[in-house]
Symmetry: C2
Subunit: 376 residues, 2 copies
């Protein structure tokens, strides 16, 4: 028995329920404080993303400019010990029943807000080196999407190609972009062509590319949470309506953490616009928007029961579960409880698809034993 | 046989299919050009919303300021003869198989962008008078939500109460608001209390409160169409998270035209925020966000098959069909084809709910005969 299988057996005996093993399409690495200072020359590392803890808020700066402010309490709540140590983290995974994790950046998210081309290039490269050395070279269950510098598309292409050659399987992209750089513009075509050629997944993570506290008022925590969701929908709309995905039918897009139950509705709304406003639609597409979505767009969720419920009747089959480890909105500490609530009453084929199938369709992963796959 | 029943019988004979009769939760009245000039003193009517047809674009002005620009072709495509004549319109309804219509404004939508308190009051009052005299007093199948002036909440309350006394059953509200006037702020509490007391539905229509062309680039027609959808989601989020709907459990909200398949996903996402970020959530609610949504939020769609598909498994039961008459994105000219495509294979109880039940739950309507209800 492997260690994971031993834990499985113990867990099943203790709880009387089988352990459900899943892959997570939405997890996070947490960078050491010196990730930039240890890897970049001082003239650059001084301007790299940096967190500063104040009395009540943790502030993030890039190049001297404050770009984010979050409560210390909020940040502290999402930093379990395993988040900085790969061996402790693997124990967490075994305990929770998570076999593989696509692990997005934490501080690295802010690199997309860098406006200086050299700095953006250097930060992306350093982050990818760190992720490879400290995580991906140590084990094969936790892997990251590469960061690509977005100031100039040629730099993004170069970093994507370098990352692909090293074994990265996806690139991280932010859901919010300045209006003149939206994802549907032709300026990004070289990146789509390169991702297509290298079989790299476009892994968008919600809540990236802009400050996330956009509303202060009653219900703010819930409102701002929802405000991170719409940009994920926008990304799908731009990539579909612009023809980017139609031109590259093998390109796969993951919208991580924003839920998945809304995807069929989005496809239908786009079809309605495409058909009913047909005389104004440019470019024409070779497939209906909803078909492109079904074939190329994946979406991950943590707790949403509707993300599972909609699959059977809408036939939207690209729903992926994610633990959002180690974040507060994720399932760390209650993963098995959540998975049993979500899947105990669900058709096993649908459960297998959401828990493991969609992830394995996008990524090469170490084999999960049949015993684990079947919850024995 | 009534005229409607005669048409039904002819239609069934011609097509070999029974006629499906529905109510529409999303239709439009179209104002005569002189709606403001004939009802307001000149010093006000000069500043009321006004359309001006240029060579290529139709421009809308309020108080001298241009606030919208749409292609003439686009505007012309949504003006069939029945849109200005109630008798022709009733023939259209009989032909299409639509029994009742909640009919929103057209030019009247722009009254919500008026900043002058007196002008807002006068325009709302004039629109409501016109809708009552020219439509609602003439027949009982087509009825409008009242416009309420939003510059000052006391004016909105007064107009709501006056409208309710005249027989209006809903008020129209716009989905986009300036940040300092979002629907979750306590400033609106008197309006919710008045609507609750008068049993008036809050009828939000997407694409209102701001210019709708927000993106110019590849896929613009589809992207801008989708951009009208998110504000409808935002409205639900603000009304739920702020506690407004929780304080008034009998208050009903309709989000018209934005589709309905996304509602369960929105409820689940809000639940996730509410539970997982619980320590930061103010106010606490007496019900989970998803419960409030299920009990008080209704949503209308035209063509989206997923809006129907999600009902059985998610148990979100407040899906309402709408024809969006006379708009291009509506079903005028192909209503029966659309309804048969949507409902022929659907559980009759679900079809009855979407086609008629949700509408009759919100509004008092003239009785539809059992023969029509049963498609005979």
């Amino acid at each position: 028995m492997t260690q994971a299988e031993q834990i499985s057996a113990v867990d099943a005996e203790e709880t009387g329920r089988s352990k459900i093993w899943a892959h997570s399409g939405d997890s996070h690495l947490m960078e050491p404080d010196d990730i930039w200072t240890s890897r970049l020359p001082k003239r650059l590392s001084d301007r790299a993303p940096r967190a500063e803890r104040g009395e009540k808020y943790e502030l993030v700066f890039i190049d001297g400019q404050q770009i984010s402010r979050q409560l210390n309490d909020f940040m502290d709540a999402m930093r379990p010990p395993g988040v900085r140590d790969v061996q402790i983290r693997l124990q967490d995974l075994d305990q929770e029943g998570v076999w593989c994790q696509l692990s997005f950046p934490s501080m690295g998210f802010w690199t997309v807000n860098i406006n200086d081309r050299e700095l953006a290039r250097a930060c992306a490269r350093a982050w990818n080196e760190w992720a490879m050395e400290d995580f991906m070279a140590q084990q094969d269950r936790i892997f990251a999407p590469a960061i690509v510098p977005l100031v100039d598309v040629d730099d993004a292409v170069a970093e994507l190609e370098s990352a692909a050659a090293q074994g990265f399987q996806a690139i991280f992209l932010p859901t919010s972009m300045p209006p003149e750089r939206e994802w549907g513009f032709d300026m990004w075509e070289p990146l789509w062509a390169a991702a297509d050629a290298a079989n790299m997944v476009l892994a968008y993570h919600i809540g990236t590319g802009r400050e996330n506290v956009v509303y202060r008022g009653p219900g703010g925590a819930v409102v701002n949470y929802m405000e991170t969701t719409y940009p994920g929908m926008r990304v799908v709309t731009h990539l579909v309506a612009s023809g980017a995905l139609d031109r590259h039918p093998n390109l796969k897009v993951l919208i991580a953490e924003g839920g998945a139950g809304w995807v069929p509705a989005l496809g239908d709304r786009m079809d309605e616009a495409y058909r009913q406003h047909g005389m104004f639609v440019r470019p024409r597409l070779s497939r209906l928007p909803s078909e492109i979505v079904r074939q190329q767009v994946y979406a991950s969720f943590q707790h949403d029961i509707s993300a599972v419920q909609i699959i059977e009747d809408t036939h939207y089959n690209n729903v992926m579960w994610g633990d959002d480890y180690p974040h507060l909105e994720g399932t760390y500490g209650h993963t098995q409880q959540t998975l049993h609530q979500l899947f105990d009453e669900v058709d096993p084929r649908i459960a297998d698809r959401v828990l493991r199938g969609t992830f394995e369709e996008l990524f090469n992963v170490p084999r999960m034993s049949d015993e684990m796959r079947n919850g024995r």
